[in-house]
Point group: C2
Chain length 139, copies 2
C-alpha cells in the first residue's frame, strides 16, 4: 500500500505496482481525479509498504512521487488490473505516479531487518543506485 | 504496516497490532531504542495499513501516536508475538506506542473504497467516536 502525505495527515491506498528496475522507478497508474497534483508537488515523499504476511516478508520503500502524463508510458504500463478502472489506455484521465525510491528496508519476520538499501545519491543525481546484494521478494 | 514520519521522510515497519475497540486506541509494543520519543512528539501523525491480499481487503487507518511507559498496560498487552523480542513484560525497554485513530478507509478491491470513517471529533474530545456501520475485516 502506498502512503502519501497531505499536510500532517498520512493515508495509505492499495495500488498496483509496476517496478522498473533499470529506471530506478516504481510506477503506479492513477486517475487524474484521485490525486491532487499540487498536494504531491508540495509533499512528494511517499512510502510503499509491501507485505506477504503468509511468508512473513515485509518491504518498506521510501521515495518521492511525481505525477506524469506520458501517454506512451501509460500504454506501456497498461495491464489487466487497470481494466477495472478504465476502458483503455487512451482514457485521458489516466496519470502516472512515478516514485523514485531513495531507501528500502526488508524484513523476513516482524521486526528483524534483513537489509537496508540507501539510494539517496542516486535519487539526487538521477544515476543508477548501487543496490549491493539485494534480496528478491515475491509479493 | 505502520508508517511514521521523520521530517519529510516516510517509513513503514511491520508491527503486531493490539486493537482496543472501547478505548478508541490501537496499541503496539515497541522497544525504547527503536523509536525516538522526540521524533514521535514532533511528527505524531501515523498511518496503519492492513492488507489481506488474498481476500483483496485493505484498510488504512490514520491517527496520531504517543509513546507510553505504562507497565500495567504492557503486561496486559503482552502476548506470544512479543516473546520474539523480549523475555518477559518486565523488560524495562518495552514501550507502548498508543495510536489514536481519527479516520479510516476500507477497500474490498484495488481502488474501490467501501467505507470511510471519520473520527476527528472523538480524537479531539477523547470521547468515543460514532463508528456508524462498520465492516469487520479479518486480517
Amino acid at each position: 500500500m502506498l502512503t502519501t502525505r497531505s499536510g500532517d495527515d498520512l493515508r495509505a491506498r492499495p495500488m498496483s505496482v509496476y517496478a522498473a528496475q533499470f529506471e530506478n522507478a516504481i510506477y503506479f497508474l492513477t486517475d487524474a481525479s484521485s490525486h491532487k497534483d499540487d498536494e504531491i508537488a508540495r509533499w512528494p515523499n511517499v512510502c510503499l509498504a509491501l507485505a506477504d504476511t503468509k511468508g512473513q516478508k515485509y518491504v518498506s520503500v521510501s521515495g518521492t512521487d511525481e505525477v506524469q502524463n506520458d501517454r506512451e508510458k501509460i500504454s506501456e504500463l497498461w495491464a489487466t488490473p487497470a481494466k477495472a478502472w478504465w476502458d483503455n489506455p487512451d482514457d485521458p484521465s489516466i496519470r502516472i505516479l512515478k516514485m523514485t525510491p531513495f531507501s528500502a528496508e526488508y524484513w523476513d519476520s516482524l521486526g528483524t531487518i534483513i537489509s537496508y538499501i540507501k539510494m539517496a545519491a542516486a535519487a539526487v543525481s538521477n544515476s543508477k543506485p548501487d543496490m549491493g546484494d539485494s534480496a528478491e521478494v515475491t509479493l
